[in-house]
Amino acid sequence: MKRALCQFVAAAFAALLAAAAGAQQPVKVGIVTFLSGPAAGPFGVPARNAAEIIAESINAGRVPAPYATKGLGGAPMELVIIDEAGGPQKQVAEFRNLAQRVDLVIGYISSGDCLAIAPVAEELKKLTILFDCGTPRIFEDASYKYVFRTGPHATMDNVSAARYVLERRPNIRSIAGINQNYAWGQDSWTDFEAAMKALKPGIEIKTSQMTKLFAGQFGAEISTLLSSGADVIHSSFWGGDLEGLVLQGAPRGLFKSHLVVLSAGEPAINRLGTKIPDGTIIGARGPFGPFAPDTEFNRWFRNVFQERYGVPPNYASYKMTNAMLGLKAAYEKAQKAGAASPNQDQIITAFENLTYEGVGGTVKMTLGKGHQAVMDVAVGTAKTVDGELRIVDVKRYPAGEVNPPDGVKSEAWIRSGMKAK
């Protein structure tokens, strides 16, 4: 009976491998991102869209310099896209299957998935580029050869937010938080709280609301925040929760009576537009979206994306793009080093400590022994100007000021006062 089962499964995958074996030249890239569930809308699908249009443009050689060459040094990219939904256990299973079908994997938005996948990628010796997940633990608790992360980790989001707040309002006395009750929300609050304490000793914490993920309704939480009397309210909400918080908070004056910081607020701009009250401080987890410098490269990216999908790219789209550009840069650097069609190890060598031009700014693979990217980060303030939401008073923080030096753990670095390198 078991044997019958093995045959069944084996057959299924034999078919799959045959299908994969068809083309030899193209570089098969597995893309893992949320196609279903609450994270699909704000992150997963914008990232997939970026992957598709960037792959096309790269293959057609339509990307502006320095990426104008066709494909990866001539070899076209071929995408295999799967859904990230279902939790780490399922993702490990899917990764092990995907690894059979592709030459490398770009993916993972959820930190839990990243933590689970990294050692498996190492075990299978499969080049894997994490593009979005935030937790610094990946390269702070371990080191990997086959795993890279081209997206900066989450520490800088809240460090920069804290700096921005205190530069604007040096004499605030108290803060409160409303964050989702899971690792992302907890870590974000811990970082913000620690950063505020380090930058302004003696600051008072009024309340830290931890809401069930995707609870959607925050009546009681908003009441508590309103009566907490805190000067600043920090939230790392995203997706439906974030939009719900704005929809339910704004009419009740939450944003009038407090300075609200949305450390991951950028994706909501496209969704909510002018519903976001003036004066709200918004972060984009990097120099992305409206925070990106107005370069020709950036304009090109925004235009092709807007044309194809009818909405501007958000930070998830930017980060996916940077992952693919990083791959192209590393691949072609390896070629220049003398390998006509570089093998995995040569690509990895080229990738380590690589510095390349991404959308939104320069990406430096300086942390995690050259496997973890840092970028500048920008924070701004929402303001509706003649019926359209603008991000004004944008402050750009150099990577060095908001990221720990290599080998130092984020938490310790924040508590010790965030000394720049």
């Binding site: 995958f13 279903s36 256990q89 079908r101 689970a116 009750n181 992302w184």
Partner: protein, 313 residues
């Protein structure tokens, strides 16, 4: 003579799976280990179902087992798989023995929902404990088994082989248990508790015993899953995970101790294929397959096997 049949099938299947161990591709080794692990949890569920009780909280023991194993590695810094498995079984059996005192008094949907409540409380605790990585969980890596250091890269295959042996043992023991007086007594309890009491037997003791068995098997399954995945996270204790076990139990059929493993393997395979080839509608695919199976195989997948046998005979 189903006893001989089942036992022989069990032995044959185990031998085949062990013989195949060195040759299977890594993804299949993983898939099978996961299927065996979840099959163990479902096996426990089947024992419980004999008394007419369906638990929507087996994730409690699946998660507890996984975390127990991982914590042995992380906190106690013992990287031996055997120790991890032992810790998982001890931990979950222990908790089951405590909660069982309460739960063994509940029936039907109330048993289901109370066990669900407990599993969700564990989920909540895990999510709250940032020391354990909250929802991100943390990784574990067993480097030896029963003192024997494992060659790097071969660990997964060894765990797979161990899982096969453990399943062989567990399934055989459960098979003996259920075909004994106590198996029949469980069915009797499902049919008519009052009469069982009036025949001088304690319904509570039987239900309690079966609950603890289910808990221990759940923990063992959780530990094997953790070893295979190399990572634990609170999702293992979430209600959807528990629901999946119940589904696999029905899918496989509750008539035979091998059914849970068939069910688990097919379920994992279907889900993987759906996710790889229909990434945008894999949930729908899964749902449709579920409905089809429930409609056309009311007695579960095992009824197919049973049919084949009777034809063969």
């Amino acid at each position: 003579m189903t006893l001989d049949r089942t036992t022989t099938t069990l032995a044959v299947a185990a031998v085949l799976l062990l013989a195949a161990a060195p040759f299977l591709p890594q993804w299949l080794v993983f898939l099978l280990t996961l299927a065996l692990a979840k099959g163990l949890v479902v096996l426990g569920l089947v024992v419980l179902m004999r008394t007419g009780l369906v638990s929507f909280g087996q994730g409690l023991y699946f998660g507890l087992g996984a975390y127990a194993a991982a914590l042995v590695g992380a906190a106690a810094e013992v990287l031996d798989a055997a120790v991890m498995l032992a810790a998982a079984v001890a931990g979950s059996a222990g908790l089951a023995a405590v909660l069982g005192l309460l739960l063994a008094r509940y029936r039907d949907i109330f048993f289901a929902m109370l066990s669900l409540a407990f599993s969700m409380i564990l989920y909540g605790l895990l999510v709250k404990s940032s020391a354990l990585g909250s929802t991100d969980g943390f990784n574990l890596h067993a480097k030896s088994f029963a003192g024997i250091t494992l060659p790097a890269g071969a660990e997964r295959r060894v765990f797979y082989a161990v899982a096969v042996v453990a399943v062989l043992g567990a399934a055989w023991a459960v098979h003996r248990y259920l075909s004994s007086h106590y198996g029949r007594l469980a069915t009797a309890i499902r049919d008519n508790e009052l009469r069982v009491e009036y025949l001088g037997s304690s319904v509570f003791r039987v239900v309690f015993a079966n609950y603890v068995i289910a808990g221990a098997l759940g923990g063992l399954g959780g530990a094997f899953a953790a070893l295979a995945v190399g990572h634990v996270d609170p999702e293992t204790a979430y209600w959807t995970t528990s629901g999946e076990f119940v589904f696999v139990a029905i899918l496989g059929g509750t008539g035979n101790v091998l059914a849970p493993f068939l069910g688990a393997a097919i379920f994992e395979a279907v889900r993987t294929v759906a996710n790889q080839y229909a990434p945008n509608v894999w949930q729908m695919t899964l749902g449709i397959v579920m409905l089809a199976l429930i409609l056309f195989l009311p007695a579960g997948l095992w009824s197919l096997v049973a049919r084949l046998r009777s034809v063969a005979r």
